[in-house]
Amino acid sequence: MTLTIFADGVENPANRARLDDTARLFGTSCETSITGRLIAVENVARATTIYGRRPLRGDATLAVGNERRGLSQRTLMAADEILVIPTQSRTVTTLNVAAAAAVAAWYVLRGSGPQGRARRPEARRPALLIAGDDHAEVGSSLRSAAAFGFHGVLLEDRGAGWFDGPPAVRREARAAARRHKNPLRIHRAGLDSVARYEEIVLVTPSGPGAPVQRTQLAHGSRQLVIVGASPSELSRSAADRMRIATLGLEPVESAPLRLTASIVLAEIARQVGRRHPGVGLAPRGPRYEKALAPVTAGDAFIVELADLLEF
């Protein structure tokens, strides 16, 4: 069983490099040809969700598309299966292409249970602390956090320059986070802020720990999920409340934060679930009508029948 990655028209060299990193984390490679089943990742109507799948059997190729245009029609037409990564934001509806590839590859290879339905999913959402030292990685991770429905995130800025870096760095970081349409509240924080949480889950890319898909990540605001830090960095006082969960990726020297964070965020979104349909008022879509109308409203006056007869 092998899963290769096919980058269909990805232009940005940094994204191509991160796609190579994605492939390394899954012990595979980026190829320019299709092997086995073609699984496309695209947000189209006929796509099925990445959640609730069985683990991959046999060979397959995962296709991700251009940053702006998505997958080409040719690839979509050739696809045996089209998957969509369900997002929960009204404004940030896509992930960085490498992050999307990592999330899709993780669920395609392992499979998972379906995304749950909850009466109040927001009450189940844990707090999230991201620790990062690279501005683009931090920005892309914040983009994923917004896409997966987070409204606020704690950020330990380890030199990434999100809060007080040079203007060019901050600009790039905000572009990666799609800050112009990303309403996420980002709070400066550190690992010392774990003290106020009853339960801490530190997620590592690889190494010892419980598989993240078997770790409860929907215990609400009393729970803190940490991405981007190592267990040795947490104080001893937190040790009794801390559990380590692992993504089970291939051990590499440095796993890009955007990839690991996006997988964790996708798994949190799966466990937290979506709002149960039928709870509360369903959002009403906009209606547009074409009508012939009087030039000005209120010009007409009503004549009572009695007045008319009298006249």
Binding site: A45, R46, G285, P286, Y288, E289, K290, A291, A293, P294
Partner: protein, 132 residues
């Protein structure tokens, strides 16, 4: 432009329904949900409007082949009313649909209402020019 089963356009239905009663306006068509367009049935020619039309709307009726008289009577010779409903009613709502569909915002506004109307009308004008 490609057509066929393999292409997804997102239009789920175009439905002909009775016109809403008790309104001072003549409602032609409406985008009632993602991919769902309704066309309202219209009275046979001639129409006695009972109100004055905006100049641009009068021009649209005339462009579709209607004959307007000073006393507010609109006559629709031949199949001009059908052409008007398709070219100005359905095409306009398809314009709204295209905008919504492109932005993949099912259930969300793709643009502010005024801008949406203007762009829908531009798409409708292009459809009319393409289809004749």
């Amino acid at each position: 432009m490609a057509f066929g089963e393999e292409i997804y356009y997102g239009v789920e239905s175009v439905e002909l329904v009775p016109a809403p009663a008790g309104t001072a306006r003549i409602v032609l068509a409406m985008l009632v949900g993602p991919g769902r367009i309704v066309l309202y049935d219209q009275s046979r020619s001639p129409w006695r409007l009972g109100f004055e039309l905006a100049p641009e709307q009068g021009a649209q009726l005339q462009a579709a082949g209607a004959e307007l008289s000073d006393d507010g009577v609109v006559s629709w010779p031949g199949d001009s009313l059908r052409r008007f409903m398709l070219g100005y009613g359905l095409a306009h709502e398809l314009g709204h649909h295209v905008l919504q569909h492109e932005r993949r915002l099912r259930g969300e506004r793709g643009a502010r209402t005024r801008e949406h109307e203007a762009r829908a009308e531009a798409i409708a004008a292009r459809l009319r020019s393409v289809l004749g």
